[in-house]
Symmetry: C2
Subunit: 187 residues, 2 copies
DNA sequence: GTCTATAATTCGATAGAC
DNA sequence: GTCTATCGAATTATAGAC
């Protein structure tokens, strides 16, 4: 929208604000994350945050801009879709505050919740539709229950046994679940 | 602590406050749920809420007091544990604001999160321990990922396809997942 | 027990000097 | 572009009259 032309001098400042905002939103949720704290983290004046992003809602919208980055799955054999998806999700969540910020905010912030709904409908829906033409929506929803449940318990609630599991174990346990939700006959 | 003796006159007021508090905490989360709004819902003065519960934290603690109410599962055959658990959880979540209030608050409120951790450790842990002595904790954690994931997507985020599913379908889809997490050999 | 008044904070947002 | 000063609103919590 605005980034096509010349890279502005202030882009570094902008990026610093966004990074700090993502960390705060991810750690504290929408209402506890204050503009003052975000500005302090970015070593900048709070008024600058307002100048750059207008208000808190727009700042959040910019900070939580992201997608699932699902790879092209059209070449993946149907019987391997579970492993591929489980692997992708586990690695996608780690090391990026954006998704945690969105999840935490979505619980109390209607706009964030709506974006979460869009995200799974638009990006996971098509995958399910290719594998199961009839009840694709329900199957995509089931995949969401398991993947978001993992994210919730591991990164937000931090249930000790879920935190303790390594990535490999998680993938091995979850892959058959996702596989069944997407390709098994309706029970 | 205080309820053993005589039922006080003010117990009705107390109960009204708690009911309103649960609804507000469940609908708005911890920080957006205000004492003023709770008092208004209960048709009472805000100052009374403070008098009865001291402060907001204690009010929440009282309102979110609950347990999973897991039935006695020692008589359930190991191969039916999935169906029994899935059925119980689906019916436990519906029609009771308490658990939704706790889940929503736990995402941003550390005390609520700690209670959520205790809840699953103390009540789900033993069930897993009986079925799988070695890696019981991990299996209980996996069950938590799926059951809390369902609660999150259906009652909090309200993903349309998850909301649209009826209880029977949910149970049929989730039961094999829970069954495998608890009784299948480690992958 | 009940309610009014208000203290004490905190936060988002704005105005304006430099 | 950057920062100071501050407004206005909302909230928890308290003090005290009745």
């Amino acid at each position: 929208m605005e980034s096509a032309d010349k890279p502005r001098r202030s882009d570094a400042t902008r990026a610093a604000i966004l990074t700090a905002a993502r960390e705060r939103f991810a750690a504290d949720g929408y209402e506890r994350a204050t503009i003052r704290a975000i500005a302090a983290d970015a070593s900048i004046d709070p008024a600058m945050v307002m100048r750059y992003f207008g208000n808190k809602e727009k700042l959040f919208a910019a900070a939580a801009e992201f997608n699932l980055r699902l790879p092209d799955l059209s070449d993946v054999p149907a019987e391997q879709i579970g492993v591929v998806l489980a692997t992708h999700f586990v690695e996608r969540w780690e090391g990026d505050d954006t998704l945690r910020a969105l999840l935490r905010a979505a619980v109390t912030h209607p706009v964030a919740a709506e974006r979460m709904r869009q995200l799974f409908a638009e990006q996971l829906g098509p995958v399910a539709a290719r594998l199961a033409p009839t009840d694709a929506a329900a199957r995509a929803g089931l995949v969401a229950t398991q993947t978001l449940g993992l994210a919730l318990t591991r990164y937000v609630l931090e249930l000790p046994p879920v935190v303790a599991m390594d990535r490999g174990a998680i993938i091995k346990w979850l892959a058959p679940t996702l596989q069944r939700y997407l390709t098994a006959p309706s029970p």
